[in-house]
């Protein structure tokens, strides 16, 4: 019987996505809850088998996922989807569009503009010039339409009172979108009836939207631009996603050795000879992109690519040098960047962050390391972090020494009491902490794919949702509002 699933379920004082503090089912979860109430254990087991079969038939063989930007390995999908009602999503969407618009403006100002942000003392100059992500080789390389962050993954969390906050920005090579699409494909087979009744906004136009954005940023002279996906190769742990995206867009998947440059123009070697390439969606980190200007020992990239981009003959997306904007110390200034470039108040707040080079803030932090989260500024994926409440005295002492040796390299944040979501643990439901990585595209306009990757900290009590730390995922349903079409207007029209 269905009640069994929720037997002993407790919200434990956390913000629960499905239940209110009074134990009432939130209206947007009613259809799912009612359906689950009818499930026997046998039925549940059958649905799990359906899910597993769906992933097998999709040929998904995730191994360990790349260290880059947070997504590490297979995220087993939980049977319960996360559901976001239309009004909440409208708020998130507006906040993400605002944030990514400001970040694009900032990067354009810094690398191609007057650097007004420095002259107006919005961000300290030294903070940018000391950032590992500040890429001097990117200066003066044109970025059509200022679309520096063509694909952004903005990690959101929900705190104890349900407020969505930005935890970090991923502006270099954010990964994970393939999970979003695969989770959705599987979920429509696992819970077809609930899905069908729920007016869930689709995500499967991602490939088309990405391709449209990439074509939009082609060099102005390119008539009918040729787009390729550049991967480090089959040995890269995110290769599956690179191949997946190339297939979704119907474009070539290439490695560095498949491209050659002649007179600062990029060509792809094909069986019919050389074919000009106009836009490269690269999934290779800056450092490995072009051995002439970056690491000389890199065999992955394309020699001369940066000169070709500088000459305006090819567009590289995401643009080179975005790392300065997702440096976690620069993150603390993003609300100011929004005010500065857009003249608006930030819609989505940051998590309270302390900058450790500031002697006063550092002193306050060092006194209470046991209550805070400490992160290195250039890492992602939950590596090198200190989670104060879970740390031993020795770990705290070690971080104290690290901070004192290199305060620029660390930030501290208040622990966010992440919201929880009912999650299937063996044969019953327990609350588990979650976050959300929506994907934001910058093309002709800034567009947010409805939902994103919901990550789940599967270990009881854990706040770390990265899969290396035992994370799972959920399909994320954004519900269409009353009278709102499911499809974005332009898709419906075409």
């Amino acid at each position: 019987m269905g009640q069994d699933l929720f037997d002993g379920y407790a919200t434990d004082g956390f913000y629960d996505e499905l239940l209110t503090a009074d134990g009432e089912v939130r209206p947007h979860y009613r259809a799912l809850y009612d359906k689950l109430a009818t499930f026997s254990h046998e039925e549940l087991a059958r649905r799990e088998r359906l899910r597993d079969a769906a992933f097998r038939s999709a040929g998904i063989t995730f191994t360990v996922y790349g260290e880059e930007e947070g997504v590490e390995r297979t995220f087993p999908m939980d049977l319960l989807p996360r559901i976001i009602p239309a009004d909440e999503w409208a708020h998130i969407e507006a906040g993400l569009v605002q944030r990514v618009t400001a970040l694009n403006r900032f990067l354009d100002d810094l690398y191609l503009g007057e650097r007004a942000v420095l002259h107006d003392n919005v961000v300290p100059r030294w903070l940018l010039t000391s950032s590992a992500g500040f890429c001097r080789q990117a200066f003066g390389v044109p970025v059509p339409h200022g679309a520096h962050c063509l694909v952004a993954g903005i990690d959101l969390v929900r705190d104890a009172d349900g407020t969505y906050r930005v935890l970090e920005d991923n502006l270099r090579n954010p990964s994970g979108i393939s999970y979003v699409l695969e989770n959705r494909a599987a979920m429509t087979r696992v819970l077809p009836v609930v899905f069908g009744q729920s007016r869930v906004r689709p995500v499967d136009h991602y490939g088309a939207s990405l391709l449209r954005a990439l074509r939009h940023v082609a060099p102005p002279a390119a008539g009918d631009p040729t787009v390729v996906v550049l991967t480090p190769g089959v040995y890269n742990s995110a290769y599956f996603e690179h191949a997946f995206l190339a297939r979704q867009m119907g474009v070539e998947l290439v490695e560095g050795r498949d491209l050659v440059i002649d007179e600062h123009v990029v060509y792809m070697r094909t069986t019919r000879g050389l074919q000009r390439v106009d836009v490269i969606y690269r999934r290779i980190d800056d450092d490995f992109l072009d051995p002439v200007v970056f690491r000389q020992d890199s065999m992955l990239g394309v020699p001369g690519l940066m000169a070709a981009a500088r000459a305006g003959n090819v567009t590289v997306a995401n643009a080179v040098g975005n790392g300065v904007a997702d440096d976690k110390a620069v993150y603390a200034f993003v609300p100011e960047l929004i005010r500065y470039y857009l003249g608006e108040e930030p819609i989505l707040p940051n998590v309270e962050t302390y900058l450790l080079w500031d002697a006063d803030q550092r002193a306050g932090v060092l006194d209470r390391l046991g209550e805070l989260v400490v992160k290195p500024v250039a890492e992602s994926g939950g590596y090198g972090m200190l989670i104060g409440p879970a740390a031993t005295d020795a770990e705290i002492a070690e971080f104290r020494a690290r901070i004192e040796a290199d305060p620029r390299n660390y930030i501290a944040q208040e622990v966010v009491s992440l919201s929880r979501h009912p999650t299937l643990i063996d044969d019953h439901l327990e609350g588990r902490h979650i976050d959300l990585r929506p994907f934001v595209l910058t093309g002709e306009r800034v567009e947010v794919i409805p939902g994103g990757l919901t990550r789940v900290a599967l270990r009881r009590g854990s706040l770390v949702v990265n899969s290396s730390q035992g994370g799972g995922s959920k399909d994320t349903w954004v519900l269409a509002g009353e009278g709102q079409p499911l499809e974005p207007a332009e898709e419906a029209a075409s």
Binding site: W126, S130, R136, R257, I261, E263, V292, Q296
Partner: protein
């Protein structure tokens, strides 16, 4: 001083190579002590050259040769008018190095880089030298300059590009870029912003200082150091030759270390071994008024390092 410079860099390969891509930094940068009168660059085989100014203000000429070739030669010819460095009158105390505005402006010249990652040895030596002189920035910089200039032995081939700066300091021998990196590391370890300068040095008959016009001398590319003095600007010193930088020093550009201003940097496809020949000829000219899916290619890096 009017100087005409001919920089030539030639790679000869023992078998054909392809897809060579290169960046050349050989053009004298216009600045307050130096005017660039003319500059031109030519390559063989001929290639389309993309010219731009990099983040540091250095002119870069980028070019590639896709087709099979057995040699690559690039010639950069420039004419400059140089002026002596003004006499330094400022003597700010070292406390002014901590001024927030000064730090904000110079932080990238204070950090460790691949070639200037100092450790305790360099810092201790720098502190000890600084302790011997007055607590003003210029005295400290000059002390470090003298220390490197007088205790290092010039010895080509004794070191290689990429040798740890602490090891360089222990060996106390090397070429101009080693002198520069050690002095930069010492300055930075004391909080004095310092940067690496790549350039040319006209060294004809240095003992007399008397050079007939039109005389051509064969030299090599050179490297020296600039250190930032609060309230004054940069002072330029040449530790390899134990002298202040003057009219005979022609600056190409500066950066945090060698990697930012490497004269020629590139890669090619192929498994050839190459022979490198770099020459720099300088002639003192007449004084003028100052004007204004295939097989993975085996890639190899090529570079022409500073050698003097």
């Amino acid at each position: 001083m009017r100087l005409d410079i001919r920089y030539r860099c030639r790679f000869d390969y023992d078998q054909p190579v392809r897809e060579s891509q290169n960046e050349l930094r050989a053009a004298p940068a216009p600045h307050d002590r130096q005017s660039l009168i003319s500059y031109r660059v030519a390559t063989s085989p001929p290639a389309r050259v993309l010219t731009f100014e990099d983040y540091w203000g250095t002119r870069v000429d980028a070019f590639g040769v896709r087709d099979s070739h057995t040699h690559l030669e690039v010639v950069a010819e420039s004419s400059v008018e140089t002026r002596p460095q003004p006499l330094l009158t400022a003597s700010p105390r070292v406390e002014r190095l901590a001024d927030p505005a000064f730090l904000d402006e110079h932080v990238e010249y204070l950090q460790r880089t691949a070639h200037t990652a100092w450790g305790p040895t360099i810092e201790a030596e720098a502190r000890q030298q600084a302790g011997l002189v007055g607590p003003d920035v210029v005295s400290v910089v000059l002390a470090l300059h003298r220390r490197v200039a007088t205790t290092f032995t010039y010895r080509p081939g004794a070191t290689y590009v990429g040798m740890d700066v602490e090891e360089l300091c222990t060996r106390r021998e090397g070429v101009c870029q080693d002198y520069a990196h050690v002095m930069i590391a010492m300055c930075r370890s004391l909080g004095i912003p310092a940067r690496y300068v790549s350039g040319y040095l006209f060294t004809a008959d240095d003992s007399t200082g008397d050079i007939p016009e039109g005389e051509m001398v064969e030299v090599q590319t050179h490297a020296w150091v600039e250190a930032a003095v609060p309230g004054h600007g940069w002072i330029a010193l040449d530790p390899t030759n134990q002298q202040e930088v003057g009219e005979r020093h022609v600056k190409i550009g500066h950066g945090r270390d060698y990697d930012d201003v490497q004269p020629l940097r590139g890669v090619f496809a192929g498994s050839a071994t190459c022979e490198l020949d770099v020459s720099v000829e300088i002639r003192k000219g007449t004084v003028t008024a100052a004007p204004a899916p295939t097989p993975r290619p085996h890639r190899q890096a090529q570079q022409a390092q500073q050698q003097q």
